[in-house]
Every structure is written in C-alpha cells, then in structure tokens.
Amino acid sequence: MVKVLVAEDDPDIQVILKMVLTRLGKCDVSITFQGDQVFPMAKANHPELILLDVMLPEMSGFEICKLLKADPETQSVPIIFLTARSMPAEIQEAMTLGALGYLAKPFDPMALVGQINQILSPLGISIGA
C-alpha cells in the first residue's frame, strides 16, 4: 500500500481524493489542509508520494515544494501538483521547482489513478495495484 500525503484545502475535494486514492488507488492516505503542516508531516510519515495543491493556507504549494526538495530526507519523494492554478507560467514554475508532474483541476476521478501512474512510471512506482 503506497503512502500518499495530500495537501488540499477544499473539504469537498479532500473527500473525493481520499475516496479515489483509497478505493481505486489502494493507497494509505493522509490529508492536510494547511500548507505549513506538509513539511513536518512528510518528515514524520515518510510518504512515497505527495499530491500538492498550490493555493494553501499559511504556505503555498510552491514554497512547500522548495522546502521538500531542499531537505535530504524528503527530496526524493515524488511531488505531483494537483491544482486549479493552471496558467502556463504556474505549471512551468512547479516543474522548475522539481515537481514530477502537474495535474489540473477539475480532474476525472475515475482517470486520476491512471494519470498519477503515468507520471510515476519513470520511477517504477504505481498505485492501485
């Protein structure tokens, strides 16, 4: 069971992600809505994948990504942005900061696991198996 940390501040989308990742992705999901909780949770729980929103309270997804990539303990954890901020410049910034991929909202929940696996494929990791 792949351990996934999700940072998402919208409670409705939290429910959808938890359901999809648990039922279809067979993942062990922990969720936070607070940006400044992501880094300490990543250090404590050692997730194998992080799904990050950009607009989060207290700390943006971009800032979190920088922190995670700067720490030797968390730098190898794949980060996928899952966000409504989908302007080309925002996508470019995420990729420059070291994100593995970028998924735009709204997403098709039934296709999400496949899309995540496609992004994870170079690393030989997959969810939903």
Partner: protein, 217 residues
C-alpha cells in the same frame, strides 16, 4: 511601437523623457497616488530612479496639495517643501528658477502630478496650460492602462482558480457516481448525470479558451 515587449514601466519612463526634452527641463517626474494614499515616483527622467524609488509625498501638503487637491497647475520656488524629493532636486534648485506641478487627471479625479523643471522664473509657463494638461492626460491614460494590465494579470489566474475549484467537486462527484463507485446507475438518472457532466466539461473548455485568448499586453 517598434518593440511590443516594452513594459509599461519603460513606456512611462520614455514618455516622461519625451516630456522633459520637449519642455527643455532638467527633471521630469510622474508622481502617482499609491494604494496607501501617498504620492510615489512612477516614472522619472533627470534623476536616478534608484534614488526616487523610495520617495513618498503627502498629496495634501503645500504646493503639492494645491496642485493635487484643486486640480490646478502650480509654479513654485519652494524647493525645500517637497519632503524626500527636496534633497534630490537640490542641485537644480537655483535662485531665479521654479518648478511646475501639473495635475495628472483622469475622468473623475486627479491620479497624480507631473513635476517639471527647473524653468527660469521669467519663463511664462501658465499660458501653455492646455499643452501641460495634455501632457498630464497622456500620463493618466498610460497609468490607467498600466493599472488595468496589472488588474488583468491578477484577475485571470484568480478567475481560473475560483471557477475550477468548485467545478472539481461537482465534476468529481458526478464522475464517481457515473463511474460506478457507489453501484451502477442507469436510465434517467444516468442520462441526467451525463448531462451535468457535459455541462461541467463545457465550462472547463470555456475557461481554457478564455485563458488562451488573454494577452493583456
């Protein structure tokens, strides 16, 4: 414009330079009221922009207040009354010379001031009021355009985000129901949900089309 990539800052600075040379002045500044209600230097020629960037002036004080509040062109030799600007114009502030303050007026209010000079006291500036006000109006138009551009730059990504977030919940819920996560749906229920899903997809396409056609420059 030869170079479409010129920023509004460059365009404003070029305009101020053009005004300075046209009026044969040594200094020309465009002071604009900022969100805190103070006048700050938006464009400068004849003074280093490094030095002028920190200048903040009270739009209600002295000659500046006279120009800004009363929408009036003011000639002044009170060189020491310009707060943080006074030390910067000191070398140009000679006896027998004056500076001219021109209101930069929008349709309904004064947005800022054009600060020109020095001119010899004997030079008659006020009879050329129409020319001066046109120079002010030019800066007002550029300033309004710049503000609109800045507003659009923030508005478009914000709109994108604000529309996509609730759509994610709507489309996600419908997608899970249609995908059979809670059991099979059929008949009229399925048809209605598919209709709602198509509506969501159409909205997303409309947002994407809108963003792709936005180019505020």
């Amino acid at each position: 414009m030869d170079n479409p990539q010129l920023s509004f800052e460059q365009i404003l600075n070029a305009t101020v330079r053009m005004l300075r040379t046209t009026w044969n002045a040594k200094v020309c500044l465009f002071l604009q009221k900022d969100d805190q209600g103070e006048l700050c230097v938006r464009a400068a020629d004849g003074l280093s922009s490094k030095k002028t960037s920190s200048v903040k002036l009270d739009p209600a004080q002295g000659d500046i207040g006279e120009c800004f509040s009363k929408n009036k062109i003011v000639e002044t030799s009170a060189f020491t009354a310009f707060g943080a600007l006074s030390p910067l114009i000191k070398r140009h502030a000679k006896k027998g010379y004056k500076f001219v303050l021109v209101p930069v007026s929008g349709e309904t209010r004064v947005l800022g001031i054009l600060f020109f000079g020095p001119f010899p006291n004997k030079e008659k500036i006020l009879p050329r009021e129409a020319e001066l006000r046109s120079a002010g109006a030019l800066c007002a138009v550029l300033s309004a355009h710049w503000r609109l551009y800045q507003w659009m730059s923030n508005f478009v990504p914000q709109l994108n985000h604000e529309l996509r977030t609730p759509l994610t919940a709507v489309q996600g819920s419908i997608g899970m129901v249609l995908g059979g996560m809670f059991g099979q749906v059929g008949g009229d229920v399925k048809e209605m949900l598919e209709m709602a899903q198509k509506g969501c997809e159409r909205t997303v396409r409309a947002i994407e089309d809108y963003i792709n056609t936005q180019n505020p420059r």
